[in-house]
Amino acid sequence: MHELAVTQDILRIALEEGQANRAAKVTGIYMTIGQLSSIVDDSVQFYWDHISAGTICEGAKLHFNRPTAVMQCQKCGFEFEMDDELIPCPQCSSFDLAVVAGDEMTVDEIEFLGEETSA
């Protein structure tokens, strides 16, 4: 839903890191975006194609790692995967749950061609 703002920030990070690494061209961006973040990959890709045009990131391939949400029951300790909708612990039916994974939103790695290699 707010993919434009997220994509702009991904581009900002990629440009900064690309420049810091003296990249002539950024060819790939590796991200972890947890399922709980309600971000749609296709939508990010759509905005990316527009806003990265004319920068050193143009044409970079976006790689999404989408970890599913993992919750831990605070009553019985059981860990289980959850989709968008909140469900109780399948083991003991408690709703007392903590997020273990699935709310990540990071740019992890960039792949690039250096100034010399591309020349």
């Binding site: 839903m1 990070i13 590796y30 109780p88 939103m105 790695e109 690039f112």
Partner: protein
């Protein structure tokens, strides 16, 4: 051959940093900032207007109104109630962010204010991802929206400081299971401060005002 380098940077971190700047600015002026969120039609503006009516006159309040369309319907109502208001038009964006709030703060008489209420864009998804720099997140849930919202919009409920349940006057007419709703809320946010109110009848508003006055008091110290 392309090289790969590990960076691991948080997305939207720049927004979070700017939000901290906004917070600093509010603190320097001893202003309490509230981020008021809800779905469209839950009664955000009505709730602010009812709050204005009941707040003692010595509490100086300013309002930032966020809307996706270039309208001033909401800010006009606040101005008509005699309080300063700034309208933000997000130009289609589904949420407010720290930059928009920074620009709105520029237009408010901060030195004279004790309280700033930011009315976010009506939406239960996107506003949850953007910190504004306000001190507390307040969500208005309203009875006609249904009792399953905490189960469907988990992110917004996880990050709340106060929950308002509005339109309680409609409870006799709508199949809203308060137990089911509360179970979902407690799962996401145990012990969340909650005020059931009706902006129509005024029921429950006094308890909210009492909480707000307490928070304002804490903020002055």
């Amino acid at each position: 051959m392309p090289e790969r380098v590990e960076i691991v940077r948080k997305i939207l971190d720049s927004n979070d940093r700017l939000a901290l700047e906004n917070r600093k600015r509010l603190d320097e002026n001893q202003i309490l900032g509230l981020n008021l969120m809800a779905s469209p039609g839950a009664g955000k503006t009505s709730f602010i207007l009812e709050t204005i009516k009941r707040l003692p006159a010595q509490v100086k309040l300013g309002v930032i109104e966020g809307d996706t369309a270039p309208v001033t319907i909401d800010s006009d109502k606040i101005l008509a109630a005699g309080r300063p208001a700034v309208q933000i038009n997000t130009g289609g964006d589904c949420h407010l962010d720290a930059v928009m709030v920074e620009m709105a703060l520029d237009q408010l008489p901060l030195k004279q204010l004790d309280l700033v209420i930011v009315e976010n864009v009506g939406n239960l998804i996107c506003p949850a991802a953007f910190k504004l720099g306000t001190h507390a997140n307040v969500l208005i849930a309203s009875i006609p929206e249904g009792d399953d919202k905490p189960y469907k919009y988990t992110n917004i409920y996880r990050d709340l400081d106060v929950l308002i349940i509005n339109k309680t006057d409609l409870l006799p007419y709508i199949d809203f299971r308060m137990d089911y709703f509360t179970t979902g809320v407690q799962a996401l946010n145990p012990g969340l401060v909650t005020f059931p109110v009706s902006c129509k009848t005024g029921e429950g508003m006094d308890a909210w005002i009492a909480w707000l006055m307490g928070r304002l008091e804490l903020n002055k110290k």
